[in-house]
Symmetry: C2
Subunit: 207 residues, 2 copies
């Protein structure tokens, strides 16, 4: 609805709204955040906010799509994926690194908190999480692991179960780090946790 085409002055309000809402939603949840407070944080009145979004839910959706589109979204083409998988551990290392980066990145961390809060309350978000996070990651991982099994790099086992084992560990570490951060506590005990879980996993499966 804002009619700024080109580079009109003063634009970016819409982005500011999303940014402010993201912070507030991540702290107090959707229902705990009022349109008033979002507007106040941006520095405008509520009514002005409605020039940019139809209603509060539209703001939610703008953030939800971000929270879901971020992880591992680079659409790795299957070719390079399987090529990478043939190397074994580096494939998992790269996966772990992406996870770790997201965990310690401020923006992604906010999105993660938002996601955890709303996951049980919003069906759209839940579906997105199941498909775009869980299924996508399990698919990537199990594909890679299957190749490693064929190459004789790791011992044979159900690739899906193996993928779940790895993803579960990564996710759990991420959750614990986010909880510490939410408390404002130091995350130093977890600074090498991702690496440790990866090493453990690799020594568990490699032949």
């Amino acid at each position: 609805m804002p009619e700024n085409r080109g580079f009109r002055r003063g634009e970016g309000t819409r982005d500011k709204i999303v940014e402010a809402a993201m912070e507030l939603f991540a702290e107090h949840g959707y229902k705990g955040t009022s349109v008033r407070k979002i507007a106040a944080k941006v520095g405008i009145r509520e009514s002005a906010l409605y020039n940019h979004f139809d209603n509060k839910e539209a703001i939610f959706m703008a953030i939800a799509s971000r929270a879901l589109s971020t992880p591992f979204d680079e659409k790795k083409d299957p070719e390079s994926l399987s090529e990478y998988a043939r190397k074994g551990k580096p494939f998992l290392h790269r996966f772990m690194t992406e996870f770790k980066l997201m965990t310690f990145d401020k923006k992604h961390e906010r999105l993660f908190r938002f996601l955890v809060i709303e996951l049980m309350q919003n069906e759209v978000l839940r579906r997105g999480f199941e498909k775009e996070f869980h299924e996508a990651n399990i698919k990537t991982l199990s594909t890679g692991l299957f190749i490693m099994m064929q190459e004789g790099l790791i011992r044979s086992s159900d690739p899906i179960v193996t993928a779940n084992a790895f993803l579960g560990q990564m996710f759990y570490v991420r959750l614990m780090v986010s909880l510490l951060k939410a408390d404002g506590k130091p995350t130093t005990p977890y600074s090498t946790a991702f690496e440790k879980q990866l090493d453990f996993f690799w020594s568990s499966v490699s032949v």
Copy 2:
């Protein structure tokens, strides 16, 4: 505040309130649930509700303590614990079974949903989760795993990392099942997931 001692008639209202609130909190979260709706679900007026609880937050606390006291709370004494650990896999099997039972039990499932929603929004709950869920489970598991390593049942490795690996898998499966349930979808794909992850884990670590 209710002055029902003994078996006065009509008591149990307090429990009914907790029950009703639990259902609503698990669905809409704390902020998304009004005192009015809780009262309506119980079949009384809001004002009557205040005879049993000082305020809305007191109801929250009553539920929070339940959500935290339930898991693995039977205070297994260290003796029988280590004795059990010497058996190897049955120790982990029992742990997994408790997890599975809680996951598919309706009451525990509600508490879990409530916990996930409020975890990022309430510090008391977060602290409780860290101590009474995470730390307690890691301690139980790492102790058991350490014994198994000494007994030569499983390969040597950092017991904490090993415990995290196992707990992470269990937790992740539980989360995914809860998401499916929240969507009203069948959880059949996960009916044997816990067992599969356990078997995978065991074959990963056993010598």
